[in-house]
Subunit: 210 residues, 2 copies
DNA sequence: GTTATTAGAAACCGATTGGTCCAAAACACA
DNA sequence: TGTGTTTTGGACCAATCGGTTTCTAATAAC
């Protein structure tokens, strides 16, 4: 029995995420955040507490939207070969540069670099999100020809877990390169070389068949 | 015919670098910088112009000290095998975490992530420094068994250049992982897997013989 | 020693920072 | 319609931001 909130929290958090994503935590001013979120100062503080909590909410929102989407892509059974799923994910980095001129990179990677070292809670969440990414890569590897090769050799899933972590490391490295100004073409070359080296040979881009 | 400067510019820039390195550009306040540099406000502005120029000076200082040191390691003829030089450089990331608890990562990588997208001049310098790192990896690869394998196959230096870029990407990825909280042991595992995949098999740590 | 020049310490600047407070408006429920 | 509760916008806050100015002290050249 009270006045209802006039804005949608999820929409507001998504807008805040956009600002944090392109400006970073320190670079994002309250005014810029409020304009993007289309809410008043007091509404922000009443709803979220403070700037840091809003950031945490944005990070969680990134987790349940973007990270989840990436993991889904890596588990997508509609693309039978895991190497194709991995190639699709990595190539999307180059595509983002090419088509949208997007050099904001990965919000998770950005946050790991500039906030995780100074904030324990953020660091923990970043670790969890990184682990989710690794799991995604692992799922794709389970459906790859690398898995089949390893099965013949009798090597276990330990090797797959290791490769998943390597791929996630490369993924983060690529996002840094994108921010450093490398072109879409240069990034694609790195991806191809990397996939080749990981024994993921069949790596042409394959679109989902529905 | 004037009063001489009381502080050493290089020392001051090195101290400023330390602050920018651990706090980032926006996170580094004037007061913190001045205290670390042990100079007065007006001296800073007279000598460097403004905060951004000081940052640029710190970035250049990082280039001519740290990046140069890394490249020297990668070209060090006293370590005959290139793969050992590469392993040494990558393993130093894990060592920094283990021995100094240093999670500030690589200042070049940090700057690429949080400043390059917003500042053209910084972006250009970051690109130049990344290229220097790649050249370093290339020099090490020239002295590696991968090179010898490729020579037999008739593959040219193009492949080596590509691998150099991949290694630099991995290097940046590892620095992100370090910031994300991965342990020295976890990072070492990734490095070993990666070196293995790059055909750089002889990868035990080898100390320089003088 | 005088003079020209510059370094240095500190006061000072407006703008902006993140954050609080309060009166008024808007709704749910009776 | 009246009442109670909560959101809202905007005024307000001290602190800090990056940057400037001023004035004094130091010193090299003459």
């Amino acid at each position: 029995m009270a006045r209802p909130r006039e804005f949608d929290i999820e929409v507001a958090v998504e807008q805040a995420l956009q600002v944090f994503w392109s400006r970073g935590y320190e670079g994002a001013g309250l005014i810029e955040l409020l304009e993007a979120m289309q809410i008043a100062r007091s509404s922000l503080y009443k709803t979220f507490g403070d700037k840091r909590s809003l950031f945490l909410a944005a990070l969680t929102h990134y987790d349940i939207t973007r990270v989840t989407a990436a993991v889904s892509l890596l588990r997508d059974a509609l693309i039978p070969d895991g190497e194709h799923r991995i190639a699709n994910l990595l190539m999307s980095i180059a595509e983002a540069i090419e088509k949208q001129g997007d050099r904001r990179g990965c919000f998770l990677c950005n946050t790991a670099v500039d906030q995780a070292p100074h904030d324990k809670e953020i660091a923990e969440q970043v670790r969890r999100m990184m682990s989710r990414m690794e799991e995604g890569f692992f799922c794709a590897l389970v459906a790859s020809n690398l898995k089949r090769t390893l099965d013949l050799n009798g090597e276990g899933e330990a090797r797959l877990l290791k490769t998943a972590r390597v791929l996630n490391t490369v993924y983060n490295g690529l996002r840094v390169m994108a921010k450093a100004g490398y072109s879409a073409g240069e990034i694609r070359t790195v991806i191809q070389a990397q996939l080749h080296q990981n024994g993921l040979e069949n790596m042409g881009l394959v679109t989902k068949k529905i």
